[in-house]
């Protein structure tokens, strides 16, 4: 059920997207919906980030993963336990670019019925790195459609990415890696009893959506008869705010574009906002300098305490008898 609903939904969306090739529908699927989705994306992400940013960070609560900065002869672990802005930037760079915390992943197992052992488990880290980085490169490659002339860096990345020199047009390594990584992530979510148990529709839907986009993109490039010039004309028009809708673009492309539009529009309302959220996590982006620099809580308020005077009033006789100094006899 949790898998079927999103799978059918993505399939249905793709079919809807095919309508883009129907006469007169090119404007809707090729112009209106992509613009709408992009507007939703921009507005939504800004809204989400502002919503987080507007909530204060009352306490400085980094999770420390290494030696603190204390005495000069004890070596601080700067990237795992940063003490200032620069070391925090280092820690965040490792986190955002290389998924540092995920790299730590272990797998625990009970052996011989009584002994717990922990092994390094890199599978999730590898799959996550492969998926996110190949997605980024795929996105950069798509700049070819949005620019004229195409920047050298895009051409260079394409060349490198196509190093296998298989097929015509060349099959990019990242296209394959992206799909394989997604397939693994899906297989893992379904195959592990625990992960399946915690998974929601909102976890399967983006996976199917990304798979749908990847596969349809592959079909557009390699299998379907595609009017590349027409596509570039369309995309260039979109990015230069002078939309044109060439007649000759195939249905599969519209299916692909519609899934992308759905993904982009859905992004801010889903778990995919983790892309922005990862930058804001108070357990990662704060320096562990709590005792050196005072952190201010903007909404701090006075609380009811038990003052020393009341304490002594209640216990004065006992304190005097026990020889403890008091303020008032």
């Amino acid at each position: 059920m949790k898998m079927l609903v999103p799978l059918v939904a993505v399939g249905g969306l793709f079919v809807v997207g095919l309508l883009g090739a129907a006469p007169g529908m090119g404007v809707v699927f090729g112009v209106v919906l992509p613009y709408l989705a992009f507007a939703l994306f921009l507005g939504g992400v800004v809204y989400r980030v502002m919503a987080w940013a507007n909530v204060p960070v009352p306490f400085r609560i980094p999770t420390t993963c290494g030696q603190q900065k204390s005495l000069p002869w004890i070596k601080q672990d700067k990237l795992e336990n940063p003490h200032n802005m620069w070391t925090v930037l280092g820690r965040m760079a490792l986190e955002v670019l290389f998924f540092r915390s995920l790299l730590r992943n272990t797998k625990s197992e009970m052996v011989e019925g009584k002994r717990l052992v922990y092994g390094t488990d890199l599978s999730l880290w590898i799959a996550a790195m492969a998926m996110h980085w190949s997605l980024l490169i795929v996105l950069i490659r798509h700049l070819r459609l949005m620019t004229n002339p195409v920047p050298a860096v895009v051409t260079f990345i394409e060349k490198t990415d196509g190093f296998m020199e298989v097929g015509l047009p060349v099959v990019f390594a990242t296209s394959v890696v992206f799909l394989v990584a997604l397939a693994y992530l899906l297989w893992r979510r379904v195959g592990s009893a625990q992960i399946r148990y915690i998974s929601l529709i909102g976890d399967y839907f983006p996976l199917f959506l990304l798979l749908g986009i990847g596969i349809s993109g592959f079909v557009v490039r390699h299998l379907a008869k595609t009017d590349v010039v027409g596509i570039k004309e369309l995309v260039l028009g979109l990015t230069h705010f002078a939309p044109v809708v060439p007649e000759s673009i195939g249905a599969v492309f519209y299916g692909h574009l519609f899934l992308v539009s759905v993904l982009v529009g859905y992004f801010p309302f889903s778990k995919l906002v983790h892309m922005a959220g990862v930058f804001m996590s108070p357990t990662r982006n704060l320096a562990n300098n709590n005792r050196r620099v005072r952190h201010i809580n903007p909404w701090d308020y006075p609380v009811k305490v038990h003052p020393y005077e009341e304490y002594e009033d209640e216990l004065r006789q006992k304190m005097i008898t026990a020889g403890i100094p008091v303020e008032r006899q």
Partner: protein
Amino acid sequence: MPKPDEMDFYKQEDLLNIDRRPPETPWMDTPVDVRPGTFIYPGKGKNLKVLDLPNPREWAVTDDDWKLPDGWKQTVLDGMAERLSRYRSFKLFMDTCVRCGACADKCHFFIGSGDPKNMPVLRAELLRSIYRKDFTALGKVFGKLAGGRELTPDVIKEWFYYFFQCTECRRCSVFCPFGIDTAEITMMGRELLGLLGLYVNWVIEPVANCFRLGNHLGIQPHGLVDTLEFMAEDIEEATGIKVDIPINKKGAEILFVTPSGDFVADPGIYTCMSYMLLFHQLGIDYTWSTYASDGGNFGLFTSHEMMKRLNAKIYTEAKRLGVKWILGGECGHMWRVLHQYMDTMNGPADFLEVPKSPVTGTVFENAGSTKMIHIMEFLSDVIRHGKLELDPSRNDHIRVTLHDSCNPARAMGILEEPRYVIKNVCNHFVEMPENTIREQTFCCGGGAGLGTDENMEIRLRGGLPRGNAVRHVQEQHGVNQLAAMCAIDRATLTTVCDYWAPGVKVTGISELVANATVFDGEKERTHNLRLEPIPGKEAPEDADEERMAPSHV
């Protein structure tokens, strides 16, 4: 017949038979299974009244009706809204989880129980499902399809059960790619429960004590004098040294604050005795306080507000006594509060000076604002400067390993100081496996207000990963002592070791230091601070007795 609150009630083979397969029913449709040994008794009305907390009453976890106050649902939702607008951590951690499951088998309670709701991700989902339903656009429209669920009394019971099966140890947050910290989730969950008057007595009674009398155990000022005098007598018996007991001494240089557990509980008392001895030897001008007689703060396990209410007395007392700076003893959660919250909550401590060791002259710039340092920072500096004469051979009968306590490890990163100290006072130090120490250290299973006997099954299960690692070094390297710089550890790991690694004793680190220190004017040291004969150092008559005693191996 042993009872569920006793260790012997549980057979090891039963607890080790851990089934990680989730139930057939989806988790939202699987109610909690409340059985003796897995929950803590409710907070008593009288304690809630001392603290002006809502809905004081008598009730039981096994009751069908928990006597929730009128309008409880709105109270919870309003409470959530308020916290979502005050804590970025809370809002962010509600939004960014992708349910990748990296945290799942990082929790000691999940490893030891296999209960899927002890996976940190699902513990958070208990709250997140309500958040999605009532606070997100998709959840408001699509409800259950978007992972939302209705807030019902069963949800409240589930929260109570599972937020008191989390020790806020933050191990999962080390592994989370977004730094989601279940301690934050649990703290919010407990605050929301508190709005309905749902507390556990093992937390709220100490809080009430601490509020009124300055420490969780409810020790009155004269009682503290008696306790410390009693310790001084034992110190004299072991070492021949008479130590002073400065209490509420105005104008002392240093206020010393330590968790109150070390005033009464074995083996914490030996750590406390060690402080007195070491301060005497180093000639430090310090004072105890009866008003600030606990650095521990069970307010952390109750609410941010309660944490602040209890913590306030430390700076107040430092100001009243006119000390220059504050020194803190070996404790775990106490140091989370002192390091990450105290200055923000009750500072600025502008009436104090930056801590400067009277022994070495070292200025502790790292505590330049809070003006409080950790006893291990202090002692490692003292030892580094050679200001203590040490004879580690006095600890030669000990093969010791170090349990990094959760909060000092993951909320401070005080990892090398204790190791440096131990290596200078013990010749036989062994590390446990690397996935069980430092930032990856496993909780004792009894932190964050879970260290009572009522939930013995959960404690033993949660203590399994730590106990197992101790057992490993016991078998491989003959380890017979587990050092821990945390008062809760000293109390709860004793049970964990007795159960999972029998034969291993728990000690504080300062105790190891005092036992290895050659004190000025000491008598021949034949007994350690526990008044046990030191093997190889027995007085001649003791050795004779031992030789003549029947050997039974």
